[in-house]
């Protein structure tokens, strides 16, 4: 009776959750542990496929489960699939062995039918996950424990795209009219936006969007029972308030700790801060291909000149940005990808001290001894201290005669500039959810055409490189593939398409006695919490 799934509208949630809480307290009082968890924003929806967005996935990972999971070091772990691999007969088919004995929160058994249904739902627009499954042709259940996914060609890394694709109940979706992911244009709220039925370690007992979400441990979960039996998730958007709530003991874990507060929190008795690298690097890039720049007084396009790009790389002082702007909370690097991504090398990462003399000489060599002016477009609410990073760069570029006019604005104005090729020089941050370099090449390096190059704001276009990038998608010999990746990186680094600044570092602050490691995708799992 204790574990009867409670799925109801947030409106009636309060009384029900009080009842559920009472049950839990009386039932398993001995080891009941509640974690009050705060972060800057709420999940946008509880629908498992509607939005491909970090905070939404983070919360949903507690309620729903994926076929494969992502561990703290970035490797894949079994979740609802116990085993997976490319079919021996047909290299375009992925074979997944589905875990047996898994129950949904409503008590029904999970079957391969649910897996097929969920993957089909996730890959059909208006699902926000569709782009990750664009190469899927057909999903079929072969027997009671095996699912085949047929791709349009060999797709050796497709399994990496499944770490945020959740499995839901087919019967539940049909009963509630949510066979498809909710559509923005539909004009009405779908049942799955505030109600759930997953197989995850926690059940949703109260959902009050942007106020409070309460999760309770699911007793029939297939895995070991987690130490945390109840999660109270509260978004607190204001940084000062978020930190105050932790200091006053009103929350136990704060996920988005402002950079300027990390050092102070570490010195506060009773509070500890956990740090780890985030899967996101911050870089500048520029229009390398146009004949002239829209915001510059220079003749022609100075960014087209390799000397100018080299001069810029010699003028940027990454360590100064780390110490002054980031207060030590970043990993300076010249490599435009996070260190745990396949293809990263120590060589790409290394950078020397700024050499202004050489940089000025290069500027003169390129015919810009007197410098030039250009506008730098920068978001001011997207990455950690994004605007300050740009401000720091303005000073550094001034030293070699590049007069940068900073245009910092909100993200909804910034990103369309890159999308529409309306910026000469911009800041962008990039995460690699597949943990493989191909993702970077597809979106940032390949010529913009079709599904390629959506964030290629440099207008860089190299048919030879494009062919290599396209070949990566279907190469099953991983060693040969890694060699091609290295070749592509050689060109990218040589051409200086990116002026990388650093990798972001994540910090979680929590009450003493709680252990929660930083997740590289910033998706902390409360199942991994342990208590001292």
């Amino acid at each position: 009776m204790l574990m009867t799934p409670i799925l109801q509208k947030a409106r009636t949630g309060l009384m029900m959750s009080a009842a559920a809480a009472a049950l839990v307290l009386s039932g398993v009082a001995a080891d009941a542990e509640t974690i009050r968890w705060a972060r800057v924003g709420d999940a946008l929806t509880m629908d498992p496929h509607s939005q491909n967005e970090g905070p939404t996935h983070t919360l949903n990972h507690h309620i729903y489960e994926t076929l494969v999971g992502r561990s703290l070091d970035g490797s894949l772990t079994p979740r609802l699939a116990t085993d997976w691999g490319i079919s021996e007969e047909d290299e375009t088919v992925w074979v997944f062995t589905i875990r047996e004995g898994v129950k949904f929160h409503d008590g029904s058994d999970m079957t391969v039918e649910d897996v097929v249904f969920s993957l089909d739902r996730a890959r059909t627009p208006p699902s926000g996950m569709a782009a990750l499954h664009a190469a899927v042709q057909e999903v079929t259940a072969v027997d009671d424990t095996t699912v085949h996914i047929r791709m349009s060609g060999p797709a050796p890394l497709y399994v990496q795209n499944l770490t945020n694709t959740f499995i839901m109940s087919k019967a539940w979706a049909e009963a509630n009219g949510v066979e498809m992911a909710p559509n923005f244009a539909a004009g009405e709220e779908a049942h799955s936006v505030r109600n759930t039925n997953g197989t995850g370690p926690y059940m949703l007992v109260e959902r009050d969007p942007e106020v409070r979400t309460v999760l309770q441990a699911f007793g029939d979960h297939w895995d070991d029972a987690p130490a945390v039996t109840e999660i109270i998730y509260t978004p607190i958007s204001e940084a000062a308030t978020r930190v105050a709530a932790l200091l006053s003991g009103e929350v136990d874990i704060v996920q988005d700790v402002p950079v300027q507060d990390i050092a102070r929190l570490e010195q506060t008795p009773g509070i500890r801060v956990m740090r780890g690298p985030e899967n996101r690097n911050i870089f500048f890039s520029y229009d390398m291909a146009s004949d002239s720049l829209r915001s510059s007084d220079a003749d022609g396009n100075p960014f087209a000149s390799p000397e100018v790009r080299e001069a810029m790389s010699l003028a940027i002082d990454r360590n100064a940005i780390q110490q002054v702007v980031m207060r030590g909370e970043s990993q300076p690097s010249a490599a435009p990808l996070p260190p745990f991504v396949n293809g990263w090398t120590e060589e790409m990462h290394a950078f020397g001290a700024p050499d202004l003399e050489r940089a000025r000489a290069l500027m003169a060599e390129a015919g810009h001894a007197d410098g030039f002016s250009v506008q730098l477009d920068c978001p001011n609410d997207r990455y950690l201290n994004d605007e300050s990073i740009c401000q720091a760069l303005v000073g550094m570029m001034a030293q070699i005669g590049i007069r940068v006019d900073l245009n910092a604005q909100t993200r909804s104005l910034h990103f369309p500039l890159i999308e529409n090729w309306e910026t000469d020089f911009y800041l962008l941050g990039w995460g690699v959810p597949t943990f493989d370099s191909q993702y970077v090449f597809d979106f940032l390096v390949h010529t913009r055409e079709g599904s390629y190059g959506a964030f290629n704001g440099s207008r860089y276009s190299n048919p030879e490189l494009d062919a290599k990038i396209e070949s990566l998608a279907t190469m099953t010999d991983l060693e040969a593939r890694d060699a091609i990746i290295a070749e592509i990186w050689d060109t990218v680094m040589e051409e200086r398409i990116f002026l990388n600044v650093h990798n972001q570092v994540l910090a979680y602050a929590m009450r003493d006695g709680i252990n929660l490691d930083v997740h590289p995708e910033n998706q902390p799992r409360m199942t991994t919490v342990s208590f001292d």
């Binding site: 409106r11 309060l14 924003g41 946008l44 929806t45 629908d47 509607s50 939005q51 491909n52 967005e53 627009p125 926000g128 996950m129 569709a130 782009a131 990750l132 909710p182 923005f184 244009a185 539909a186 004009g187 009405e188 709220e189 779908a190 936006v193 505030r194 009050d208 969007p209 942007e210 106020v211 409070r212 509260t234 978004p235 607190i236 958007s237 204001e238 000062a240 308030t241 978020r242 105050a244 709530a245 200091l247 006053s248 003991g249 009103e250 609410d381 909100t410 993200r411 909804s412 104005l413 990103f415 369309p416 999308e419 979106f443 913009r448 079709g450 599904s451 959506a454 964030f455």
Partner: protein, 337 residues
């Protein structure tokens, strides 16, 4: 004309005001809509980074964002007239439902801070008027100057640090436990944690209004206390209490009540900052999040709601003036002859 009795001119006046109010609402909608074009592209926040440019263009088409301004505006007005403000881009819930579910939080906060501002404003105002030169009055006046010059954001953070972090008397964020009155009104006033959560935001939001009322009451009191009828009242040997409160205060309250009423609109409209600092789940915080996400349907509905609040308050005030001031009626009646 004899058939034009006072009742008829009253109705004509109200009708005219209502037509004017509708015009105001339409103007607000137009200005708001024109501004949305500068807020940015909603698509960027609605889709994941893997979405192709073609898919983005398609979503933009489906949402009607490519249509000419006039068509978008016309569609919005036509739907808004039937109470349909669409679905939130961000939370995927109907906008009206979303706003109605957040409104009680804002109204309760506004009401409590309005009452606090009025009670303490009048109290301090009377005290500082009667005890001029006394050191308590001096310090109250100085404190009020600080209260009026510090930004709301800073006051909120300051209160959180003192009362939530250092003293740990009051919660630093949220609304505490809430219960339903009727079908949709969620109140925090009936639970202990709800009332405790209300104190800091209410002070933060009401401080400016309190200072304003206090200074107004003080100035009016000083004015009235100098008048002849107060001197006569004292000469007749009435008690200080009767003079100060029965005669002086009573005569200062008319403008104070007008100002307080008008300020209620501002309290509701400007609760945005207070709600953000205290993570108060009201419409102001909803609006800020919507601006960050470029959630156009919610922004549009919120601005219409605030315009409606101001229009209604002004309408009531106008009607009250009309009822109170006979000259308005006479002038209009004369003008028609």
């Amino acid at each position: 004309m004899l058939t034009w009795g006072p009742g008829f001119t009253m109705i004509a006046f109200i009708l005219r005001r209502i037509v004017q109010s509708v015009m105001v609402m339409l103007t607000v909608a137009l200005v708001a809509f024109a501004l949305f074009r500068f807020v940015g592209d909603p698509i960027a926040s609605m889709v994941g980074q893997e979405t192709t440019l073609a898919e983005r263009a398609e979503l933009r088409e489906v949402l009607g964002l490519n249509d000419p301004f006039a068509i978008q505006f016309g569609r919005f007005v036509a739907r808004a007239a039937t109470g349909d403000f669409g679905i939130s881009y961000r939370l995927q819930q109907p906008v009206m439902e979303l706003i109605l579910s957040r409104l009680p939080a804002t109204l309760e906060l506004a009401l409590v801070s309005g009452v606090l501002a009025f009670v303490f404003g009048v109290g301090f105002g009377v005290y500082t008027a009667l005890r001029r030169g006394n050191w308590i009055s001096g310090s109250v006046m100085t404190a009020s100057l600080i209260g009026v010059s510090l930004p709301t954001f800073l006051i909120g953070v300051l209160l959180i640090w003192v009362f939530a972090v250092e003293l740990q008397w009051l919660p630093s964020f949220g609304r505490g436990e809430t219960v339903y009155i009727g079908d949709w009104w969620r109140t925090g006033l009936l639970t202990e944690s709800g009332r405790a959560s209300l104190i800091l935001p209410a002070i933060t939001l009401g401080l400016y209004q309190m200072t304003l009322i206090m200074r107004l009451v003080r100035a009016e009191m000083l004015e009235v206390l100098r008048t002849d009828y107060i001197k006569f009242a004292r000469a007749r040997g009435l008690s200080n209490r009767a003079v100060n409160f029965g005669h002086a205060l009573k005569n200062t309250l008319v403008p104070v009540i007008t100002i307080t009423g008008l300020q209620m609109g501002s309290i509701i409209a400007f609760s945005i900052i207070t709600e953000t600092v205290f993570q108060w789940p009201g419409v102001g915080a909803l609006f800020i999040r919507s601006v960050q996400f470029v959630d156009v349907p919610v922004m549009a509905a919120y601005l219409m709601l605030i315009a409606l609040v101001f229009v209604i308050i002004n309408l009531i005030v106008d009607l009250l003036y009309y009822a109170v001031d006979p000259r308005l009626r006479v002038d209009r009646a004369n003008a028609r002859h």
